[in-house]
Amino acid sequence: MVRSQKIRIPLSERLHDFRRGPLQVLIWAGAAVTAFVLIERKQARFEFQGVVRALQAEISADVDGRIAELLVVPFDDVAAGETIARLDDALLLAEIETSLASIEELRQQIEIERMRVQADLDAQNERRLDRLRRERNEEARDYDTELRRYHSELRRYRIDEEEQRLARLAVEVQIEADLVERERRDLKVQRTRELVAAGDTAIEKLDDAELKRDQVDATIKENRKLVEALVEVYHAAVARRRDFEARKPLSIRETPIPAAPDMLPVFASVRAETLRVEEIRVRRRALTLTAPFAGRVSSVLAARGQALLAGEPVAMLTSPYADEILAYVPEEAIEAFRLGTRVLVSRRADTKLTAEATVTRLGPAVEELPARLWRSAAQPEYGRAVLCAGVSGLDLTPGESTVVRLVN
């Protein structure tokens, strides 16, 4: 009799079947799900490229000149206001000398005019006395004589005024010259100090340099006090003239007093010298190139002795502190970014450490990314620039590339 009970399938066969059937499906499903999760994780990050932005400044001269001193080398740290370079001051000193000579010339002209006015006044007085003696009438007044006398007196007051102005200008020009000298002395002190620190020169040299600098300093202070005093004297001269004008005699009050035509060129020259002193002052300031903020010299673009045109860069200064990121967002993700959007920033070198930042500015247009941020060297990429600020705790280096992600 044939037994009909089916024999049992052993476990090994079942396992064998499992391996050849469901296990393949399971493995496939596991791989597919893992791939799916990785893709989604990758996309969900919305990672974008960014570059750390730091404050940078190009140090350049406002005027043409030749570099007399270059006081920094690449990667030097400088403080705000520290001198980076100095232009040659020979031309300025020559201008100062010219200005002083012009002021002296004008002084001489005004002195000559003063003597002439005085002689004229004396002659008028003599004629008046003669007439009075002839007519024996102290109250007789000659209208023309009165007018000429008034005219001459007024010229004297004007001359006085211009003389005071010139005196002040001369001192101011001298102060400018002293300031130029002082800056030279300052550099000498600085250099001597470095040599003393290196042991290359005696400390007496430093003392000597400092002493000379202090002497110039003292002269400048004295001259500034003198200028203040001269300003007072000038104002007093103006007040005297105005007072004299106010006391114009009745007999000639209605008569207009013309300005002395022969004095007009002198007075105009005095005005011109006033403006030239201001010009000297501006040029003196432009000789010294200083750091606008504390930072590090990232590059030196000129050398000592090099002639420069106005605007030509001498050095680049970068602030060592950076808390802004310039990120580039592809067009398809632009909608996710608004002012105030929060983002996570991490350094590309260490993506585990993140910091939060906020979008503060949006670029106006879609632009080409810097080449170093392209995924492929041969394929340019485009995106909208977005400025994220307020990053802290990441120790960012200016120019470093970063990864920016949206905060979900």
Partner: protein, 230 residues
């Protein structure tokens, strides 16, 4: 749906340099899609030239090519180097088996990855590919037509099949007649069946049970070698 398509977009901000994650993702995706592809090939293949190793090599080649593109990137020099190396190998060796080709290609790509300094890709690629090979081998991926062997019966012609079927049902999970031939001058029939046994070790019992049947004159069981390429 939109989210699905968004996921498939190239990741914004992704760097050109492959990372561990990106290489792993590429290999996983290639394995998944390759396996799907190979299943369809296996199920729809008609004809007698089916090869399990060819089916497996479909998966391997997909993974190797994904790894190759990761290594080459956009570097045209590396790409030309790969072409040259492939050409040299091809002309020096005749590769009869597609799986052999996949392994040769694999060695080439790993060597290239190490040469260009993409150690991540080399390590992950090696681990991923070897794991895929092991998995496919362990699961006998690509094999089809699960049967254990052929049963040859000499039976009395026109005899009742019921008892024979009962015996076969008892010992076999499935069986199928593949040929019937008249023998012995018309008194006997030779029936050849393809069988899948419930327990391979109990093949002799099956023969014994069949031989006990009056209608069965002779029974032979030829078990298939698992390594045989069928």
């Amino acid at each position: 749906m939109e989210r699905f398509f968004q996921m498939l977009q190239p990741s914004p901000g992704a760097q050109g340099e492959p990372t561990l994650e990106s290489t792993g993702l590429a290999l996983l995706l290639a394995f998944s899609l390759g396996q799907l592809f190979a299943w369809f090939y296996s199920r729809t293949h008609a004809g007698i030239s089916y090869s399990r190793t060819f089916t497996q090599s479909l998966v391997l080649i997909m993974m190797v090519v994904a790894l190759a593109l990761h290594v080459i990137g956009n570097n045209i020099v590396t790409a030309f180097g790969l072409i040259g190396a492939l050409a040299i190998i091809r002309f020096r060796n005749v590769l009869k088996d597609t799986r052999d080709t996949a392994f040769v290609f694999f060695s080439l790509i790993i060597g290239m990855a190490i040469g260009v300094g993409r150690y991540n890709a080399a390590l992950v690629g090696t681990a991923g590919l070897l794991l895929a090979v092991l998995v496919m081998e362990a699961t006998r991926f690509g094999s089809r037509g699960h049967f254990d062997g052929h049963l040859s019966l000499q039976v009395v012609a026109n005899s009742d099949e019921k008892s024979r079927r009962r015996v076969l049902d008892r010992f076999c999970r499935k069986f199928r007649e593949v040929s019937v031939r008249m023998a012995g001058g018309g008194d006997e029939s030779e029936v050849i069946l393809r069988v899948r046994l419930r327990d391979r070790r109990r093949g002799p019992e099956l023969l014994e049970a069949l031989n006990e049947l009056a209608a069965v004159r002779r029974a032979d069981l030829i078990l298939r070698d698992e390594l045989a390429e069928i």
